[in-house]
Symmetry: D2
Subunit: 305 residues, 4 copies
């Protein structure tokens, strides 16, 4: 198996009602995930609201994570900002704190191209000693990592893995066909709802935001897939699909961005993991009615008695 | 006339070949623009490659600008980053340095909504004492400032002006119809090529990247429009349209982002304003062949003998 | 001046409540436009709901038009369907009926390319004896006619004109700069709301759907522009912009497609030109509340006493 | 099992070099598919170049199909055109010829909405006696059939099935979860490359254009899935993914539209099924070099010795 594999949740960053990171709750999130049996942690990803946090806060989150995790699991750190040298700045900090790899998107805000994207990853890699993982998330950066780009970067050793949150499962499959036999490269899906499919294709792992709510569910799904029991895998996946319906509860009152992570936070609050479901500004926090609907969903899949 | 008006170029940030800001060249850019007769300066905008610069560099650019300009012209400062509190951080710095207004885009990377965009501007405004100007640039942030959003923010006093780089001239016209009679609100176009039209509609000013190359041309255009001489305005605009063709010279070898600002830098180098046409990473710098083509264009409109 | 020029409305096709063409009303529409002083007629365009009509109905509409117009004005006929040979079929019919030119879009439904678009226009031209006019309407066909495509087709004589409904005024301007001095080629804008701008740039005419409601208004605007009185042109344009606000009245109850033409029909019914505001299926027809709002708008610009 | 199920290829329509339907080749295509063991036939779909054919040609293709198939397999007929009453026209013809169901897309060219899409399917259904199948193909019609739309139409009995060519596997899964237990409703994927996944989710069938080249391969994949042998299903799918690489061979010389179906035709010509790989105008036909590359691909997966 590749170094990084299995269920690697993008870790939610709980906030206080005054928009500070709530480190007590955050410690509980980390322990909740570890207790759920996950295989790694992806901090400062989109689900972590990384884009809302400045350099100092990001540093403190990473330091806290590394201290709490204390080597029990590999830690991947998102180093997400619009352009190359700013990403390198974040990445050097993350490296110095001791993360196991950094996760990098294509440039954004700037109008870029696939050759520039390739150069971007090369520049970042050259500046670091830790592995660089590519993060394909066109819904946020508005550039797709094309198959050729991913394969070229993998074959030359610039990137050590891919987190695919593009929703383009066909393209993901071709990356698996092109690269899946390399023991030094892994491919993970960011999907919550077609994880069984991705694993059946040969994916090495999964990075589902919903695992913040139900880590044990995704671990069961992973174990069923490892055992080749696709009937059980599908059944567990379908249960998780029903749980995932929480992400549409607050639409259109909130944006799509806050509806998803906001639902995870709301469910985690109900489960006693975090103290508040506050979202970073300018996102809207889910309200009491929405929380009640989410509680019903959480209950319906057996997470609450 | 509104406080801010006229030709307000988004100021190019020259770099050395090792990707540092070249402050000697930068001072020359500022003097070149002032000598050209422009009415204000917009620093740290998209054309300034703001998104490539970290906090410390942005601070130093603003300090340098304010020192060199020394009150001769109003200075608008872009405070462009993905989310609210990071924008506020930049804006407080800019305010403390003494800029006359800050320029703010909609959030990006995060999937947002018009109500969140409205809240975003309100939060930024509440944190500051200087005027906030909205910057509509969907090609970069992938969210359009809808007419209703702009008008609501203007009418409640949250924003003091709009820089419209959306290319949606119909929408711009309706904003002018809704808001054009307010003496405390201005509307500027970010276009280089339909400036005469925008002024004919009643726009208060123009923010053309190409004015870095030919500030005097845009000032002539502005003066013709002020005088109601639309025949001369059109003639000057058409000359500038021919000059603007430089932005396509390096396509598709470079990205659209680097093709435009890279062309401006290449022309400015030829005109002796800056020392290098280096672009911030991962953008590609224009090469000798492309520079030769650009020189031909510059010469054809009379900027070189 | 080019052969085709001036105000050339895309003619609304009135329907009965049982979705048949209402030819009595249609004759009144044609007379209403001619009486308003327009310079040509564009039938079977998007505003005519051409895409809802089959071959037999299109033929009858053209025959009726040619008979009623009886040479008083040039008649342009849209021959709009997804692919080349089907377009040629419509075009041969239109030619045999005696229209003065046919209007052709890029292919749609099929995933096409600019070289295929060029071939498409060439094949259509080769099959006909009447002039072919290119119709750039990416909001419907999802392909933009690039400047290079339009200029190449114009220079080789394949197309005799362009109707630009793309909203990309910068691109339109470059087409005017490249082609505007040819006496055998005309460029018209499909805009309702920046017509004064297009004429100031040098456009040869305008094809505004809203002219079905107020042909005389657009003719006044045209005449002001011809006289170089841009102050009066702007004033008339701004009045028409206020009238154009009718197109948003029924949103989001109806689609954007039916909201626009549906508003024109509703206003025309109120003005006594047509008998019913029925829209072709599956579009929704505007209701009584929406009609009342539209009446208020029509009244506010002086079209009703 | 639902009435319609299994492998249902969208049947390629071979053309002569003068752009007429080549009925001799077409008969061979039908026999080739039936011999390959497929479970149904979808004629006049996108792969059939339906959008290039006029009413008379469509009628003759259907008549020929029904005569050749002669009840051996169910025949689904695409009735694809932009708007409701034109679709009804095609559908009545298809019904009179004796097809088993008609396949209908959302409206296109017109700017539509989900409520209009729902009305569209209702109007079509009311006009017919045969089942109506919804065809979700946003890449062609630029409107997605939302989950709510599909589920509502299914639950009220308006549509009897869905062909999903949207590539949105998550949405497809939710449709399966909402509707998969209905015995009177089927869901098929239009994918060529994640068919094993779709079947693992519970899809009732698959409509792959590539089955024109290798029907037996998809039938094997279907049989492996029916037997629950997901290892063998994946292996067969991966072989077919390698075969599918033919669809990129002619890019960017041809459009995406002609590259795909053009590759299928080129492979089928090499396999002796059809006489010419001619594409309908204005699409470009694949050339000899491209045909040689495709032959290599076809050979590499064992279809040629």
């Amino acid at each position: 198996m590749t170094t990084f594999h299995g269920v690697v949740p993008p870790v939610v960053t709980p906030l206080t009602e005054t928009f500070e990171v709530d480190y007590e709750s955050y410690s509980r999130v980390l322990e909740h995930l570890i207790a759920g049996g996950v295989h790694g942690l992806f901090v400062l990803g989109s689900t972590s609201e990384v884009i809302f946090h400045d350099e100092a806060t990001r540093r403190r989150i990473l330091e806290h994570t590394v201290k709490v995790v204390n080597g029990r699991l590999p830690v991947l750190a998102g180093v997400i900002d619009p352009t190359t040298d700013r990403v390198i700045g974040h990445a050097k900090t993350a490296q110095s704190i001791g993360v196991d790899a950094v996760v990098v998107t294509a440039p954004f805000y700037t109008r870029t191209s696939q050759p520039e994207v390739i150069d971007h990853f090369r520049y970042v890699r050259e500046a670091l000693d830790v592995p660089v993982i590519a993060y394909d998330i066109p819904v946020c950066v508005h550039t797709k990592l094309e198959r050729k780009t991913t394969v070229a970067l993998a074959q030359e050793g610039t990137i050590a893995g891919l987190k695919d949150s593009s929703g383009d499962d066909g393209n993901f499959r071709y990356c698996l066909l092109d690269l899946g036999d390399r023991r030094d490269f892994f491919l993970m899906t960011g999907s919550e709802i077609v994880v069984d499919n991705a694993l059946q294709m040969g994916a090495h792992g999964v990075v589902p935001g919903l695992a913040n709510v139900d880590p044990a569910g995704y671990v069961r799904l992973w174990n069923h897939a490892r055992a080749g029991d696709w009937v059980a895998a599908r059944k567990e996946q379908e249960r998780l699909c029903r749980l995932f319906e929480m992400v549409w509860v607050s639409l259109p009152r909130t944006s799509a961005g806050s509806a998803g992570v906001g639902a995870f936070k709301t469910a985690m609050r109900r489960l006693g993991v975090i103290a508040s479901n506050t979202m970073a500004r300018p996102q809207r926090t889910l309200n009491a009615d929405e929380a009640a609907t989410i509680e019903t969903i959480v209950r319906s899949v057996g997470l609450l008695n």
